[in-house]
Amino acid sequence: MALQFEVLARFNRARASRLTLPHSQCETPLFMPVGTQGTIKGLTSTQLEDIGCQIILGNTYHLALRPGADLIDELGGLHSFMNWPRSLLTDSGGFQMVSLLHLADITEEGVTFQSPVDGKPMLLTPEESIAIQNKIGADIIMALDDVVKTTTTGPRVEEAMHRTLRWIKRCINAHKRPTEQNLFGIVQGGLDPQLRDTCVKGMVALDLPGYAIGGLAGGEEKDSFWRVVAQCTAGLPEDKPRYVMGVGFPLDIVVCSALGADMYDCVYPTRTARFGTALVPEGVLKLKHASMAADFRPLDETCSCMVCKRYTRSYLHSLVTKEAMGSQLVSYHNVAYMMKLSRDLHHSILEGRFPEFVQGFLRKQFPQGDVPEWVCNAMEVAGIDISMCCAPLK
């Protein structure tokens, strides 16, 4: 194990913690921006440090293709290659393979697919995924899991869950650097509570440094989504970090944190920036909209990032989707927004004012009081009173 996780404060299920990794110390709940190919699109390492990022994701699949795991290893690991002094997390490569390659086939051995470079058949096994991740050298590495679409039903879901449990053991055996890299297991089981329960128990028995809740954020109903998160966080150990993969929207992060999750990743903030959408307390701002042309306010009046201190919605309106600078500036703000959200979550729990924070957050996002039912249900389980944010039923 190469991490320390200390819960500093709680509110019911929510926790504010300190996560110490080989390369940096982090405060959770926290959001991890995704730097797919060894860079967060358009932002420099220095900017990311300025914004307060602690952990960035790299995609094993993409990096193994270009520039290649051996090259990264030869050059001293991904930290050195991209000159990122803080922490890194790599995923297993499995998800990309299944979602990007229509000819991927999953067997007990591993994931067979056609190489996008030369069309040759290739096989990604748990052992190979870990070997690649050992070469890349991230602080946290992810087990290769058998991921199914959340909308899948039937025996495939159960098969995938059991295979995931068998594969995590192979991952553990293959892991050559347990004192430098933390291998997280991923809980699968679709939307089936029994399958999830079996998987949680199986993972916990292996005493891993941390656990991820996978197989979500894929188009399932929100009502199913939060219940799976709630069930898993209830079953996972208190003293280890819980990472909900692929989440996401600020609202989802607030709900999952209330339910006891600690870490999140998603391409959403950076991707949506490139399409001209800025994240703000009220929700989103579509900068391409004609009304933005004459709006001389900053993106977010409560934000102290470089972009909000300097530029107006009007100017950004003229830049987004047309100029590279537009993409850079909105990405910068969106990542800063997510880091501020992380800090707000951590500090509000730490300072005993988490319910007030959640209430304020929901009021901003739903000024008419139309808080979605799934959020109300989730908050009830989380033990947070949000009745004052919801409009009375007609």
């Binding site: 520039p67 042309a293 107006t312 100029e323």
Partner: protein, 401 residues
């Protein structure tokens, strides 16, 4: 705007000095380089990284033609001028029409206005529209609207461009907002020494703060350019600033400095960036002659001026672009990383390259100023030309070969 010439080259018209601008706290050392921008900001270098490019990197070239769509002159005026819009109050802004984004369409221009191909379609820009934008921008330096034509147009079309440019200069002067500095007068005349001389004389008679040498880099040869510049310069007052657009290469800059140009806007750093190239030419004559700098001229697409970072040779090269360079890119990142970013089409590649290339070109201008001040500019220029010649003749080869 006031130019104070402090040093002169004994063998040519090159001069080094200080350009004082109305309400700027800083002074521009000339010859100087303006950074190219799109809608006010550099293409890839964000405002928080600008200060790190170079201590001299305080002057921007913003073409008024970028402000005929969004943001508009009205938006600029509401914002209180371009400095406020781009939130760079301490920077010098030079509003000059000619740039790398909006291309003059000399065939479509008429006596009413100049026609340009822009990212938002073809526009004909009249002096009144042009000055609307200039007045809204509130720039520190601005140039009138020219009718630029390439070197191969007919004699008639060329004369027409001179006549229009002078008319439009007069219109621009009369449309200038009260309280604003007078602008640079554009000098055209194509490839004709006579027209160039005539235009220069005429512009010099107007109320201008300096001169914008237009219509260069449009098909004239280096020899022709030398004659045209001389024809202009001998008709211009020594104490007013001269700016030129459209010259990119170091050799072209040196030629123009020789002729007495003070202000440049060059997109050379940016064009290299867009091709995945990094500037590496040595700037120090002494160091170079003593053999202390290294060469790697034989790489694919490389010569002693630049290296092609897409080349496979750099895949695992953990050295910075240039060992002696102190820019952000060279102090933080390796050729291998930039090679990867280029191969994966990541925007960070352009940001890092733009920072390095701009930094290096600014250092080149510093070397030019040092040479003029030190009295060895003619030697510096000759040395630079000889190295290029040596590469062309295959004399300079890679030390790795």
């Amino acid at each position: 705007m006031k130019l104070v010439v402090r040093y002169r080259c004994g063998e040519c018209r090159a001069r080094a000095g200080l350009l004082y601008l109305g309400n700027r706290s800083h002074v521009l050392e000339t010859p100087c380089l303006l950074l190219c921008t799109r809608k006010g900001l550099p293409t890839f270098i964000p405002p928080d990284l600008l200060p790190s490019i170079h201590p001299d990197a305080l002057a921007l070239h913003a073409s008024p033609l970028h402000f005929f769509d969004s943001p508009s002159a009205k938006t600029l005026a509401s914002a209180g001028g371009l400095h406020k819009l781009i939130s760079l109050p301490g920077y010098t802004v030079a509003a000059i029409a000619r740039d790398f984004v909006c291309i003059a369409e000399h065939g479509s221009s008429n006596k009413i206005g100049a026609s340009f191909q822009t990212p938002f379609g073809r526009r004909t820009v009249k002096p009144v529209d042009y000055m609307d934008v200039i007045n809204a921008m509130q720039p520190d330096i601005w140039a009138s609207l020219p009718d630029e034509v390439p070197s191969w147009v007919t004699h008639k079309r060329n004369k027409q461009s001179v006549e229009r440019t002078l008319n439009w200069l007069d219109s621009c002067i009369s449309l200038k907002k009260d309280g604003m500095e007078s602008g640079l007068g554009c000098i055209v005349g194509g490839n004709s020494v006579e027209e160039r001389g005539f235009c220069a004389q005429e512009v010099a008679k107007r109320d201008v703060s300096g001169f914008c040498l237009s219509g260069f880099g449009l098909g004239e040869s280096a020899e022709e350019r030398g004659l045209l510049l001389e024809a202009i310069m001998k008709n211009l007052p020594d104490e007013k600033a001269r700016q030129i657009s459209g010259l990119d290469l170091p050799e072209e800059v040196l030629q123009a400095v020789s002729a007495g140009i003070d202000v440049f806007d060059s997109t050379y750093p940016h064009s290299l960036t867009m091709s995945g190239l990094a500037m590496v030419f040595p700037l120090d004559m002494e160091e170079c002659l003593s053999g202390r700098t290294s060469e790697n001229a034989n790489d694919v697409g490389s010569d002693f001026t630049k290296i092609n970072l897409r080349a496979v040779a750099y895949r695992n090269d953990t050295s910075p672009i240039l060992e002696s360079c102190r820019c952000y890119t060279c102090s933080k990142h390796t050729k291998a990383y930039i090679n990867h970013l280029l191969n994966t089409h990541e925007m960070l590649a352009q940001t890092l390259l733009d920072i390095h290339n701009t930094h290096h070109y600014m250092n080149f201008f510093q070397a030019i100023r040092n040479a003029i001040q030190g009295g060895y500019f003619a030697d510096f220029k000759a040395w630079f030309a000889s190295r290029r010649q040596a590469v062309n003749e295959g004399i300079l080869v890679s030390s790795a070969a």
